[in-house]
């Protein structure tokens, strides 16, 4: 029974907006080509408006769109076969489109978004191309929107997408979910891409740039998709939990003057409890798998912060344990420094300084010097702290972080003045 009463434009809008990539993922599977799929789906959407206005919205509008897009692709193939009269093309045609039944008759069209996400995040594509392609196909963002969000010129982003799609086609990157033995390795790549998207939006949170802000929302939506589709993967749940813990604190991260606030300076009443509760649940489920990965550990750390009613009640012992574990898995400079800071909170600044002395090769990194400055300040070695903050200011590039370091330095200098006068 057609939905005569439904507004065709609204139905169409809902289908294309609510689940970006849902229909595209199916059409790509059917026609075997990203560009062709995008084009024929667009054509199908255009003809839907006309057809549905005349005859009413069909019972299965999604199936109608997919079938129409597929038929458009068949028309194009036939045309090109007629033009080139190549036997192999004809063979390809019947192979690709020999469907046992019409898609329109299938009550539920299949969901191929997991194939799509693994293809977009294939390691044979450059990292920036993986991000762009994921946002373009699954995020439903336009090329100008993605260019804007990543602060690159539109033609550059367009070129990046064209090149990525050409590589998928020419090098024949398969449109598939990796086999079980490769899944563990590949899911890490997908998770990294989603987290990079999230981070890009998170870093921009102090700005007024809504397009950049919406990246966190996109990343969370895609992480939810990943959790839905791969419920047995604890790292996917860890990723989503981590994003939600961060997102919960979004309103409290920046002070009225636009300065970045530390965790212990934030107004905890602004934290979104419902997101924290959801993240707690996800993390509990993830931990049941007994296979702690970097994202679960980072989520656990963010969770210990998010669940502490006051800064003083933060469980720094457990946080430092998590950092020890995380540092074994991913010994990066950021993790090394955060581990130092956590140990300093759990066992005192001297313990932190001892650990920090063992960290090598981060002289050019502002967080190394600012961590050092914080610990020295807390052991009342103010002259040394001052020098450390100055060194940090020499390396810092981000304006908000610079302002923060300048405040710290001014604070130490003021204390130095006082102790000098007494």
């Amino acid at each position: 029974m057609p939905h005569i009463t439904s507004n065709p434009a609204q139905v169409l809008e809902k289908l294309l907006r609510d689940d970006p990539g849902r229909l595209l993922s199916v059409v790509i599977r059917a026609v075997g080509d990203f560009d062709l799929a995008e084009e024929v789906l667009q054509e199908a959407a255009a003809s839907a408006l006309k057809a549905w206005a005349e005859k009413g919205v069909p019972e299965n509008p999604a199936g109608w769109l997919v079938a129409t897009a597929r038929n458009r692709a068949i028309d194009r193939f036939r045309k090109s076969v007629r033009e080139r009269t190549k036997l192999e093309e004809a063979a390809h045609l019947s192979e690709t489109f020999a469907a046992p039944q019409e898609i329109e008759d299938v009550p539920e069209i299949p969901d191929e978004r997991l194939r799509l996400i693994f293809t977009c995040c294939h390691p044979a594509l450059a990292a920036d191309a993986q991000i762009a392609l994921t946002l373009r196909t699954l995020g439903g963002l336009t090329t100008p929107e993605i260019a804007h969000a990543f602060l690159v010129p539109e033609p550059t982003m367009g070129q990046r997408l064209v090149r990525a799609k050409a590589k998928i086609k020419k090098a024949q990157i398969p449109y598939e979910i990796p086999s079980a033995d490769k899944l563990g390795e590949r899911i890490g790549g997908v998770i990294t891409v989603l987290y990079l998207i999230f981070n890009e939006g998170y870093i921009a949170a102090a700005g007024k740039d809504l397009m950049r802000l919406s990246l966190t929302g996109e990343a969370i939506r895609l992480a939810r998709l990943l959790v839905d589709q791969l419920p047995a993967e604890p790292e996917a749940k860890g990723l989503l939990a981590l994003m939600l813990f961060h997102e919960a604190r979004n309103k409290s991260r920046v002070g009225p003057d636009g300065a970045l606030l530390l965790l212990d300076e934030q107004d905890r009443s602004l934290w979104d409890r419902s997101l924290i509760v959801e993240a707690n649940k996800l993390l509990e489920q993830a931990i049941e798998a007994q296979n702690a990965g970097p994202f679960q550990l980072q989520a656990a750390i963010a969770g210990l912060h998010a669940n502490a009613p006051t800064p003083q009640l933060t469980d720094w012992r457990r946080i430092s344990d998590c950092y020890d574990h995380l540092h074994e898995l991913t010994p990066t400079s950021v993790v090394a420094l955060n581990r130092v800071a956590a140990h300093a909170m759990a066992r005192g600044p001297e313990a932190g300084l001892m650990l920090l002395d063992a960290v090598e090769g981060l002289d050019h990194y502002h967080l190394y010097h600012s961590t050092r400055g914080d610990l020295l300040r807390r052991t009342a070695r103010l002259e040394e702290a001052k020098a450390a903050y100055e060194a940090a200011l020499d390396c810092v590039t981000n304006d908000i972080e610079r302002a923060f370091l300048e405040r710290r330095l001014a604070n130490v200098v003021a204390h130095l003045g006082k102790s000098g006068n007494s």
Partner: protein
């Protein structure tokens, strides 16, 4: 002795259909192919997709690392090859000089490592 003839040029400057000189180059390759077939020394030959379609694979600590793009960023890129069975390097060089891309580009000739 088998030699590989690695054909390199600047892929951004390559001629396409409609460009002046393109037909000549294509005719040159057709003639070269015919000649080596006739000589009975043609083992294999192919033109490659541009380096943008390349993927590098490395295994480190048991983990497979995959990266986009070509191994080396060079002015000229490896874009096609022949494997020809030549009498000696003199013949190989003589043949290499007749590959159309040798004009303007570079043909690297290398003997196979033959077991024996």
């Amino acid at each position: 002795m088998q030699y590989i003839f690695m054909i390199c040029d600047d892929e951004n400057q390559q001629l396409g259909p409609g460009d002046p000189g393109f037909e000549e180059v294509m005719a040159g390759y057709a003639a070269f192919g015919e000649m080596v077939e006739k000589l009975g020394i043609m083992r294999m030959g192919a033109r490659l997709q541009p380096t943008a379609t390349a993927t590098c694979v490395r295994v480190r600590d048991g983990e497979t690392l995959t990266t986009d793009g070509s191994f080396a960023e060079t002015k000229e890129q490896f874009g096609g090859f022949y494997v020809l069975d030549c009498k000696d390097l003199a013949q190989a060089v003589e043949l290499a000089a007749q590959i159309p891309t040798a004009k303007g580009g570079t043909v690297e000739v290398r003997p196979f490592f033959e077991m024996g």
